[in-house]
Symmetry: C2
Subunit: 325 residues, 2 copies
């Protein structure tokens, strides 16, 4: 059984509306008439989701950040986290991990509320889990399913940096530009989801998700869940200076960026009337937002490059739950 | 670094009052003036917390049950669970696990809201995590810290069955009594925390906890957290017929029961005025409750056997997070 089959079976068990059919970034649970909780749980496994030689501070950071990214996509304010930590017998690693955890909790202003610590058998890979609990800040909590024909498609920040950072960390590629090297590795190891931006955007958008598996695969999921077609103009995909230095800004470079994953940026659709408010929200929150495409009636994902149709790559990003390394 | 040191460092990070200093069974988070959430996360690691040949249905059951036990100790009603599931490549195991998960969710009437599925490297032990979210049903949510001198100490159900069930499952001991064998293995593999009993008891008790690590060690923790002394009359420790058949009911047998762990029963203290209401709650919920001791001013745990002082065993139960096998 592969993961997608397992998740299909799990969906059969998840009948409560708060689960959103396990199709969304997070569960959304009504607590009172005016209070909705946003709940998410993500795991990191050594050798599957992070490199065994990634600095432990950054593993802790990533564990918190990937869950904060799910809250950001729901426009939620974090209330707390619970951590499941599987210890091995490497005190130095564990102390450094706790330093990174402390930094991440402070940076995202989220308290550690509880969890569990267990000891792993010798030689077993580390297994880390984090549950984040957030409070929805808008009456309608954005979902993947609400894109509408006529919407524009937007992304926050730049795309593809983490994918190149991973390739650099794995020494699959090299660069002579030390500034770019540092920035790209940092993008891979310390993603910085923008919670405040998510909260500002939530009342303005139709569909919203975080980009964890790749811009194209996540855009395709919004299209499928919403029963619409999404078109991405590849020349609009925003690249960082560091990305352009190492990878260039050709169509190929942009396709690699858009399939790379681990961006932890926001991907959303909104009507043209909301555009000004959206751009103001980005300015106020110190982020950048770029319009990269359009929603139309129909089905599926399509791409273009300066007006010419571009065939879809065979692989649009990480499949759900797939290893990242 | 051993686990207790790691947890000590974690406590330094858990300053939010909802975390209860990581000293309690669960976090208790104020959501509105009248709504308190109870949050808990427990992990099960193959070969550490369950036997590799335990039936997968029962591993799923246990994963849900141990978290429900934490909610029961807080008198909470379960609102939902999030699961972190690390897949291996054994479809038969995973299908049976999902059957058990479905049974447990139905039995405890709790919906699956979300979670994460990851693939483990080959040969790595399975790593499972579950977060349970509950809603407190009483204005004061019971804690470990609220025992008062003059209180009586009570336990629900019988003690020690799961410990003998584990020994039978591991073939460390044997019994000719098939009925007892089945009952004890079932107690180990399918603990049945009583959520409704917990909800009925919560307004009546002072301190309450679940017995996960052993009656004596958990009683000692209540004593320490409350700044009181607790005395247990060992002859009062309730044993099941199946336990008595295999282990007898001597002082030694009762000490083994009280240090065994994995009972997932409720341990609580209450004033003598509450006793009648407590016993009625047990009758209404179909459970049994037994008075096993007293709280007094002072410090620490003490034991007696029909009035004579009994020295404390060197090992009172499982240390926090220690393996169970």
């Amino acid at each position: 059984m592969i993961e997608s089959e397992f998740i299909g079976l799990l969906r059969g068990l998840a009948k409560h509306p708060a689960s959103r059919g396990l199709l969304d970034d997070a569960a959304v649970l009504d607590i009172t008439d005016s209070t909705q909780l946003v709940l998410t749980h993500d795991m990191l496994i050594e050798g599957v989701h992070y490199l065994p030689d990634d600095p432990p501070e950054t593993v802790a950071w990533k564990l918190v950040a990937v869950n904060m990214s799910d809250l950001a996509a729901k426009g939620a304010r974090p209330l707390g986290v619970l951590m499941g930590f599987a210890m091995t017998s490497d005190s130095k690693w564990e102390c450094a991990f706790l330093d990174g955890l402390s930094q991440a909790l402070a940076a995202f202003d989220v308290p550690l509320l509880g969890g569990d610590t267990v000891s792993m058998p010798p030689q077993a890979p580390r297994s880390l889990g984090l549950t984040a609990i957030g409070s929805a800040q808008s009456a309608t909590v954005p979902s993947r399913t609400a894109a509408r024909p006529g919407d524009s498609v937007f992304v926050s920040g730049t795309i593809g940096d983490a994918g190149v950072g991973l390739a650099l960390a794995q020494k699959r590629i090299t660069t002579q530009d030390n500034t770019a090297h540092t920035a790209l590795i940092e993008a891979y190891r310390r993603p910085r989801p923008n919670l405040l931006l998510g909260q500002h955007l939530a009342p303005l958008v139709h569909a919203m998700a975080d980009i964890s598996d790749g811009l194209l695969i996540d855009a395709g999921r919004i299209a499928e869940a919403s029963g619409c077609a999404i078109h991405i103009a590849m020349e609009m995909v925003p690249l960082s200076p560091a990305y352009e230095v190492t990878e260039g800004k050709t169509l190929d470079a942009r396709l690699r960026a858009a399939c790379a994953g681990d961006d932890y940026r926001l991907l959303f659709t909104a009507s043209s009337e909301a555009r000004d408010a959206i751009m103001r929200a980005a300015e106020e929150r110190g982020g950048t937002i770029t319009e990269v495409g359009q929603v139309s009636s129909g089905r599926g994902l399509s791409l273009s490059w300066n007006g010419a149709t571009v065939p879809l790559p065979a692989r649009l990003g990480h499949q759900h739950g797939e290893g990242r390394l």
